[in-house]
């Protein structure tokens, strides 16, 4: 124990060799029990032996026993320091249980041929799902669509910035507009799908937008029959829901800019556009990048509007990766392949977000 630690130690830890031995025994003994039970269960599941297990709960209970013993043994082995470890260790074990195990199990499923209707259940099939994914034009099509959907964030950002500037200015009924512009964000995307997508844009002859389009002279308006129009319509519906989110973040950023800076720029003779471009925009960069990154995360999960309105159609033109996985997993019960697609997508998201955050970090670092 270091000199500094001693200051906080209330009682001196005189840990006897017997207690130390008991601590080690607890850890290794419970780990041995866990390993034995897990091995027996694995042997029963895959090796054909019969130990009378009906489910995997015995392994779970063995894991719980190991966790308790591990925590307890910390105190037995390390005394006061062990008690400090106890503040963190249960939480760490909990996180491991809820993230690492499922993730490992997910990887195992992703490398399996598992159709819920197959009487033989899950079968490990190595890289077959990856090969299938590589040759699946519709997954790549969905990924390509995602690129377009993500690029749509840029005009959304411009629009959101414009609206935020407007709501930051001294306009009439500013509070009303702030609330009104926020309303779409309060709606669930499923509600938007039905209210806007179905009721207003699809349903004939009642759809009001269709009626309006007809009144304006379009003989047979349709928003989801042509691939490009369908994609743009989906983008617009998604933008309608989430532009307010970016807008409110940018608005908060704008309100945090000290007025003196703008006034100083004006004194120095900066015009409206120059003041924005040279002062406001750079100052808003950290907020903007945060808003863009969070919006990107939302966008990468885009599925509900597509599932409800077009089911990915016409012919996959509006499919997002998530909506494609949803069909593969839910409608086809193709658990193995669906999980693999989700895992690959997770890796892509992690890579893209890491790269983007690195760039963002670089962009935000003050230049000296």
């Amino acid at each position: 124990m270091s000199e500094g630690d001693r200051l906080h130690v209330v009682t001196a830890d005189n840990i006897s060799p017997a207690r130390r031995m008991a601590g080690h025994l607890m850890i290794w003994g419970s780990l041995g029990v866990l390993a034995l039970v897990a091995l027996a269960q694995a042997a029963q599941t895959w090796g054909g032996s019969d130990f009378g297990f009906r489910n995997w709960r015995p392994t779970l209970y063995a894991y719980l026993l190991f966790s308790v013993c591990l925590c307890w043994a910390q105190v037995m082995l390390k005394g006061e320091t062990g008690k400090r470890i106890l503040f963190v260790l249960p939480a760490a074990l909990f996180v491991v249980s809820l993230t690492v195990f499922p993730l490992l199990f997910g990887v195992l499923i992703a490398l399996s041929d598992w159709n819920l209707s197959a009487p033989d259940g899950r079968k490990f099939n190595g890289m077959a799902n990856i090969v299938q994914m590589w040759n699946d034009p519709f997954y790549w099509n969905a990924l390509e669509n995602m690129v377009w959907y993500c690029l749509a964030i840029l005009p959304e950002y411009v629009l959101a910035f414009g609206l935020a500037l407007m709501l930051n200015a001294d306009i009439r009924a500013r509070k009303f507009f702030r609330v009104a512009f926020l309303l779409p964000l309060m709606l669930s995307p499923v509600a938007v799908s039905w209210m806007i997508g179905k009721s207003m844009l699809v349903i004939q002859p009642a759809g009001p937008v269709i009626r309006l389009a007809k009144w304006l002279g379009y003989p047979n308006p349709s928003f989801f029959s042509d691939p490009l129009t369908a994609k743009i319509t989906i983008m617009l519906m998604d933008a309608w829901t989430f532009v307010p989110f970016m807008m409110i973040m940018i608005l908060a950023g704008l309100q945090a800019i000290p007025k003196e800076l703008q006034e100083a720029a004006r004194v120095d003779g900066a015009t409206g556009w120059r003041a924005f471009w040279e002062v406001t925009f750079p100052l808003m960069l950290p907020v903007s990048i945060t808003a863009l990154l969070i919006r990107l995360i939302f966008k990468l999960k885009l599925a509900d509007v597509i599932i409800n309105v077009t089911s990915g159609g016409p012919g996959g033109a509006t499919d997002s990766v998530t909506s494609f996985i949803f069909r593969e997993y839910r409608d086809r019960s193709n658990v193995g392949y669906g999980t693999l697609l989700a895992m690959v997508y997770l890796v892509i998201i992690v890579l893209v977000m890491t790269v983007l955050m690195k760039f963002a970090d670089k962009a935000l670092r003050p230049r000296t």
Partner: protein
Amino acid sequence: MKVGLYNYAVRAGLTRRGVLKGAASVGALSAMGGAANIAFTAPALAQDDLRAQILAIPGVGNGSPTDADYQKVGELCLGPTKANVAEGEFAGVELTFMGLNNQNLHNILFRGFLAPWEKYTGAKINWIDLAQADYNPRLQQAIATNTVDFDIVEMGAPFEGDTAGRGLLDEMPDWVKTQIQADDLVGYLQPPVGTWDGKSYRITIDGDCHTFSYRKDYFGEGSISGMKDAPTTWAQIAEYSKAVKGQKDPLTGNEAYGFLDPLKYQWGGFGFYFLGDRAAAYAKHPDDPAWLFDPDTMKPRVNNPAWVQAIQDVMDMVAAGVYPADQLNTDPNGTGFTQFLGGVGSSVCWWGDVGSNARTSDSSVVGDVVGFSINPGADKVYNSKTGAWEEKQNFAPNMAYLGWGIYVTSRVSGDEKKRKAAWSAAAHLGGKDISLWMAAYPSGFQPYRNSHFNYDEWAAAGYDKDFVADYLGSNADSYNHPNAAIEPRIPGIFQYYSVAEDELVKGINGQYGSAQETADAIAAAWEKITDQIGRENQVKLYKASLGL
């Protein structure tokens, strides 16, 4: 009965006189009460009395039935149970029942019906209620992960492959068959439906089929279609759809359209039935029960000339521009309920709901001009055995989905008392008399017994006989058609349908070069699913489901 149909009968078909007439006859029968039991010694008459008595609860036109009504009906229909089970025989038995709670029906009714059964037998039932959207995943996961935690399950016949095929169901005892009078079921619900490897598992409580709903004002002398009678074949459908293009709808004054296909077929597998409506006429040969797969190899027939013809028909209609503007993104729900009922288009193939809603839904404008018949036929039929077309008219109504049934799981197989209790509860719900009540009042179930089509019984209860005869007649004709196209009850059937929907939509949107290429893509996807699930087993189960 579907809720919509009931509402129709109450609102449109029910005349004041009809109510009084029905009520008077039922009242008279009820008033006789005990006297009737003495006077009418013949069992048939006693049963008629019971049927009239339950049809008077709460009485057609007296508002929606309540739990008290369900319990009253359940109590009155306990006779067959009492004949097989002694009072208190199942004391201490606890059963778990998994079913749906759609529209506050299904399990909600079963609870009421089974309350007097529980009281009489001493058993207790625990309930697992599921919304429709949660039902399939819950059942599928329970099957796949071997965690079946229910003793009785309300289930569709297409899942029989997944359950009975894996030994998860308990075989129906003979006394149950007798109690529910299974021979009264309509033709297509008779075995092999409900059986697996020659063993019976299902107590049918529902029926399903697609029928052809059309607008009468599009046909007749001087009509815009130029056709005297409603079309009866797909060729006539194409012909009249082209003929009315560019004309005005006689009812709404808007553009006139012919037949409506839901061109955004993707509907979790249920959309594939709509291509099946067309394909059955070409592909379901009267001498061959199979029409989707070759029963010996599971080789898909979906890319044979018959199915390709059906896909080509749809593509030709798309190319001819005879569909409404946004049809490519219109799903079955929109096609049936929004378009057809809203006066867009003049014919559609659908389940019973569209027919009943035609006259009851506030958004329907076609109530007075709607007519019904069995699905259209074709002028030729493909014989898969000879690999050649036969030039003869062929009708093959599509029994889309096979209705709901009650099944008992093998969890109870080891405990004879529990097993008998589970089957007794299931048999109570599938009894002949209680089924009439379910057919006549909102329950979520369509008529499915021959005895349900005694229109006089309906009229006596206060229903409009003309409507019942017209609408239900088309169902009865489909159910009992000798060449009805019945779907295979094999594992993963909805996976096949779902992937077919995706490929079909791609084909119709021009991503494949032709109907044949589209059909080949579906066939390839089906082959992949068959290999994934296990071909040998699928062949075995497919044959079993066809009764081969």
